[in-house]
Amino acid sequence: MTVPQALVIRKADLGTWVDSLIGRTEVIGPTRGPRGDVLLATLSGARELLWDFTNALQPPKQFLLPQTEPLVQIRTARGHAQAESVADAHPQVLFNVRSCDVKGFAVLRRMHAQPPGDTAYLRRDEQTTLVCLTCPTPCPLGFCVCADAGPFLEEHFDLQLTAMDDAMFVEVGSAKGRALLEGQDRLFRPAAASEVARRAEIEAEARRRFGPVTCHFGSAMRRVSTGRVAQALWDAIADWCLECGGCNFICPTCYCFSVRDRREDGSWERCRVWDSCQYAAFTLEASGHNPRKRQGGRVRRRFFHKVSAQYYQKDGDVGCVGCGRCITVCLGTADMPAVVEALRKGEWHG
């Protein structure tokens, strides 16, 4: 049977569908945590899955690029060291991923696929199905429209869901997405032309409803890329950054890591762990030389990577999906919109 590109499922049937997936594979999605926090977790039943929520502070990238990721186990047997790959890759479905995060995965995939290719990441990526949930109401701090990352997507998703009155509009973006619908003919029906039109209206309406946070990447990019940002400005911004590294850790497009070995039951385990370019010793060389000893240099490096024309030409995107998480997580005031604004105007007031 050929599944059409646009389908519809009744909201009342969503639980049946999700529960059937949970029976087949690991399904991860947003759940309600303490104090109203949204937590991404393995679902044990569809009733745990949230459909109406402001995006989690926790980025779903951790399910493809974990904070601690064992890659190789090293054992010594009769004087010889043996290394065995232990990188975990099993099928998983990430449900109700917002468009910004789906776009983030596209950025990560492109980076990790560059030769020679990061096999641990790519294997996990292959095993992951992304179900995007569009945002008819933009989140309060989001600015995905400025970064071409939402609130609705044209590509990068396996399935994309849009809530309509009593139904969910389903767009199929890939064979992996189509596989989630197999054996569910009873629940899905092709979308009617009126429903396709309604979906377009919801998107147009959403784009009109964005909050005050904007991010003018274009003009910031012109200044950064033509050497028109004085080092003094970076130094001034650096005084308002407490070097927590949070902006890197929650960013859907940041991927820098370190490699750490840990002893475990008589063998060694080589792990990839998240790292931050804002940490003083991130670029410390074995000689003791540190090319970015000053924090102003590290802040400059971060934003050069994110918004310079050099990287834009190489990657085809700015290194930001407008999720707004850095505004929440920054233990200072140096979040993306604030710094882009400072670059544009050439001044910083904290």
Binding site: P34, T68, E243, A281, G288
Partner: protein, 626 residues
């Protein structure tokens, strides 16, 4: 098919801010942390330490078996019953021989562990020798601030929140952005709103660069500052004198909402009390003590230093703290601890190390936290019986006669009390490795071996004991299934009037510089996170902190560049520092932001300068080229 990613709401165990985080796990194994977006303290923010809070459990050198030193001095793995019995018998034998025994609690142990540690000392061992490293600097500040105890603390905004709304903030710091990042963030927010920030410290830090005024405050200067501040309250300012300080005082006095934040500096105890008294006096004289919106926030150094103090881990008070002679408190504690507590005034940690024969150390490594690491190491090595409970193999564990493995702070349950007085739950993200058990359970078992009745059977039992015997924690109840962190807002809850206090020692004024000793050498801080086991056990944190140590294996001191030029000394050279007490060789790091004739030594390199400084935090020295 399900690998199971989940998380538990917990608390960052490093500094005393008490930020909320989730400990995350995959298939039962710790994998990371994530900030709690709606947490009342941190609202989705963590510092670098918080982001690495899972690392010590994974990368630290873990103690996984009880160890007992055999006849040849080797530590041999043993069973729990054997280890506990050996520890109890050894301690009892010392008591029977009339020798002193003591207990150290810790700012990196939970309230429940500290409460049981205090009980182990006062009830189990009938000894008043109970204290914690880094308790004294915080406590000295509190005692100094006694004049500024508010009459009503109940319905105030939480201090960190209030700080963000202040118009003028007086900050005494080592480097707040490093020691208490969440508090530094509150100050950044206030400055962005337009607040006037006044910093006082020995270094021009990140916050000092954003300050409206910066006052140089070196260890030894506290008395002079106190005199200047209190003598120059509005209306009393002497004509023409100290314009900058007068501006500061007038600005503070005139503020609608004013904040004072004091981190323990490298000063001597008397200096810290003088500092507390000066700032408390200023707040009292200007009416800011009881003014809504104004805040005074003394900062404990470690995560649960405040909780340890309130759980009775101090030599001169019962939990609360209540006075040693408080009969009602003693009755309540006898019920909670299983025996009437000893009410003798005990020794503080430094004197304890010199004078006791037996010591139980709960989750601490005294050489990293005391002013003289070398002296602490020697004292531990000279003990007849050293029993250590820790999750990590620290040098103190290696010196132990009995080492008892406990769960790390990511593997245990219990409460921490933050700088604001919030009591919050730590929750276990994973099971402890090997034979390690929760610290409260080990202390309960050790207490039972020492004959304490009715040992607690759960962490909730311990908490019930705390609730019943410490009035300020009477509200601290865990409701079934409740996931939320508890909150209570209170200013430092030490009631000094109720306690007997030894008279404060006279602060030592700086030695007068003269032609023979023209420089002032000062210790810049009271503690350095880079040495803490929770940092050294984390590869990410160790990298940033250790890199300096790697680069300067012989230590170093900071010297003003202009003075160095006059002496013909270049950056990195080794110099000889000579004081009236002794001399030492050490490399110099030249800086252009120091006051003339001031030499700073960081806490990390204090041992290299022990011959010059002695136990003091400052000394007059001369610098000789070698």
């Amino acid at each position: 098919m399900v690998s199971g990613r989940s998380s538990e709401l917990s608390i960052c165990p490093y500094c005393a801010c008490g930020c909320g985080l989730y400990v995350q796990r995959t298939a039962g194994r710790l994998t990371g942390v994530m900030p709690s977006e709606h947490h009342p303290v941190s609202a989705g923010r963590l510092c670098a330490r918080g982001w690495a809070a899972h690392e010590p459990s994974l990368w630290g050198r873990r103690l996984t078996q009880p160890l007992l030193r055999d006849g040849d001095g080797r530590a041999v793995a043993t069973t729990w019953p054997t280890a506990l019995r050996a520890a109890a018998e050894h301690l009892r034998a010392l008591r029977a021989a009339g020798k002193a025994v003591g207990v150290l609690g810790s700012g990196r142990a939970t309230n429940e562990e500290n409460f049981l540690a205090a009980g182990l000392a006062r009830a189990g061992l009938q000894s008043g020798h109970v204290d914690a490293c880094l308790r004294a600097p915080y406590h000295d500040l509190l005692l100094g601030l006694a004049a500024a105890d508010p009459r009503e603390a109940a319905d105030r905004a939480p201090p960190l929140e209030a700080l963000e709304a202040c118009d003028v903030i007086l900050l005494v710091e080592g480097d707040l952005a490093l020691t208490h990042p969440r508090a530094a963030y509150a100050i950044l927010r206030a400055v962005r709103r337009g607040a006037r920030l006044v910093t006082a410290g020995s270094v021009r830090t990140k916050l000092a660069r954003l300050a409206w005024r910066h006052l140089s405050l070196l260890p030894g200067d506290e008395v002079a500052l106190a005199a200047a501040l209190t003598g120059r309250a509005p209306g009393q300012a002497p004509d023409g004198g100290g314009g900058e300080l007068r501006e500061v005082v007038e600005s503070y006095a005139g503020a609608q909402r004013a904040g004072i934040v004091i981190a323990p500096t490298g000063a001597d105890p008397a200096g810290l009390r003088a500092l507390g008294a000066a700032l408390g006096g200023l707040a009292a004289a200007t009416g800011h003590v009881d003014r809504p919106g104004s805040v005074i926030l003394p900062l404990p150094l470690r995560g649960n230093t405040r909780g340890a103090l309130e759980m009775g881990v101090l030599p001169d008070a019962l939990p609360g703290p209540s006075a040693l002679h408080d009969a009602a408190a003693r009755r309540r504690l006898a019920a909670a601890w299983g025996q009437e507590p000893a009410t003798a005034r005990g020794l503080d940690v430094e004197r304890m190390l010199d004078e006791v024969a037996g010591l139980v150390v709960v989750a601490d490594d005294p050489p990293v936290a005391l002013p003289s690491a070398e002296r602490a190491r020697r004292a531990l090595a000279g003990l007849e019986c050293l029993v250590v409970l820790d999750a990590f193999v620290t040098p103190t564990v290696e010196a132990a006669h009995v080492a008892l493995p406990i769960a790390s702070l990511a593997e245990t349950e219990g409460t921490f009390t933050n700088m604001e007085g919030r009591v919050q739950w730590l929750r276990a993200g994973a099971a402890p490795p090997g034979a390690a058990r929760p610290g409260w359970a080990v202390l309960a078992a050790l207490g039972a071996e020492l004959g304490l009745a009715r040992p607690p059977a759960s962490v909730d039992d311990v908490l019930a004991g705390i609730r019943a015997s410490v009035p300020s924690y009477a509200w601290a109840e865990r409701r079934a299934g409740e996931q939320e962190a508890w909150t209570q807002h209170a200013l430092p809850a030490v009631a000094p009037a109720a306690l007997e206090r030894p008279a404060a020692p006279e602060p030592a004024a700086p030695e007068p510089a003269d032609a023979s000793y023209p420089f002032r050498l000062v210790r810049a801080a009271a503690f350095e996170w880079g040495d803490d086991p929770l940092v050294t056990a984390s590869p990410t944190l160790r990298r940033d902190h250790v890199s300096l140590r790697k680069l300067f294996p012989h230590g170093r001191v900071d010297l003003p560049a202009l003075d160095a030029k006059a002496l013909g000394i270049r950056d990195g050279w080794q110099v000889k520092l000579v004081s009236r007490a002794g001399e030492a060789l050490i490399p110099v790091n030249l800086r252009d932001d120091l006051a003339p004739r001031t030499i700073l030594v960081s806490f990390a390199f204090r041992d290299q300068l022990a011959p010059v400084l002695g136990a003091a935090s400052h000394a007059a020295v001369r610098v000789e080229r070698v």
